[in-house]
């Protein structure tokens, strides 16, 4: 499949453990490759999804392994949309400032990098709260025509 007009849809549900990050990356990689992204862009998408899921495991579920992470992927009209949903604690992404590495280094802070990376790697990153108290982050990457 290497056409921008075809429709692609896939979904996976995984438990909230870091054990599953390798599986999540494999699922993302095979989807991005099937759609026709280059190796370089596929690598960026894989890392962004890893960061989003890592944040959910750490912050939404606070390392409790029993939470569910729903990852759905859709490709239509050259737009690859990855929606990642959880039922954990809500967090306000607007309260997390963009990191300044030099300040981070001084303060020995190591968090917050994931969200910064996601914004750098993807074309769009949007957080929202959806019905039933679920949190959702939507990542978008456009396939160059």
């Amino acid at each position: 499949m290497n056409s921008a007009n075809k429709i692609f849809e896939k979904e996976i549900v995984v438990k909230s453990t870091t054990d599953n990050l390798a599986l999540i990356r494999e699922f993302t990689k095979s989807s991005a490759e099937e759609i026709g992204f280059s190796d370089e862009v596929t690598g960026k998408i894989v890392l962004a999804v890893d960061e989003a899921c890592t944040n959910i495991i750490k912050h939404a579920y606070k390392y409790s392994p029993n939470g569910d992470i729903y990852i759905s992927m859709k490709f239509e009209d050259a737009k690859f949309t990855i929606s990642i949903t959880d039922e954990g604690n809500h967090f306000d992404p607007n309260k997390i400032p963009e990191p300044n590495l030099r300040e981070y280094y001084k303060q020995k802070r190591v968090g917050g990098l994931g969200m910064f990376l996601m914004k750098k790697l993807m074309d769009e990153v949007k957080y929202s709260t959806i019905t039933g108290n679920k949190n959702q982050v939507v990542l978008v990457k456009y396939l160059p025509r």
Binding site: V110, L113, L117
Partner: protein
């Protein structure tokens, strides 16, 4: 499931950490354990050889940020070597080249500690 290996060896007064495979939130604690061991042994001069590292996420980057200051306060440092382009690009995206030294070759990095 994630495939990651970390190995520690001494080259003179310098500690070399070889990282291999996938460094993510699941495997980063393995690397932290090695850094804690180095602190216990008061070994502050560290070179990380990335030759066999295929993947890194911010959880892995965070480990280097968490330990570098302590190393520097004790006349040491964490220097990087043999990094593949795809891994370097992630460090670059976060501005690491301003704060860390990157070398093509492990020996070059080691010799910076032993002038």
């Amino acid at each position: 499931m994630a495939d990651f290996n970390v190995n520690l060896r001494g080259v003179g007064s310098v500690s070399v950490i070889d990282v291999k495979g996938y460094l993510d939130a699941h495997t980063a604690p393995d690397l932290e354990n090695v850094f804690n061991k180095l602190l216990d042994q008061k070994q502050f001069k560290v070179v990380v050889n990335f030759n066999d590292l295929k993947y890194i996420s911010s959880a892995g980057l965070g480990v280097f940020m968490a330990y570098v200051e302590t190393m520097r306060e004790n006349q040491g440092d964490i220097k990087f070597s043999n990094m593949k382009e795809n891994v370097y690009n992630i460090f670059d995206l976060l501005g690491f080249p301003i704060l860390y030294e990157f070398y093509k070759d492990e020996n070059e990095a080691i010799h910076k500690f032993i002038p």
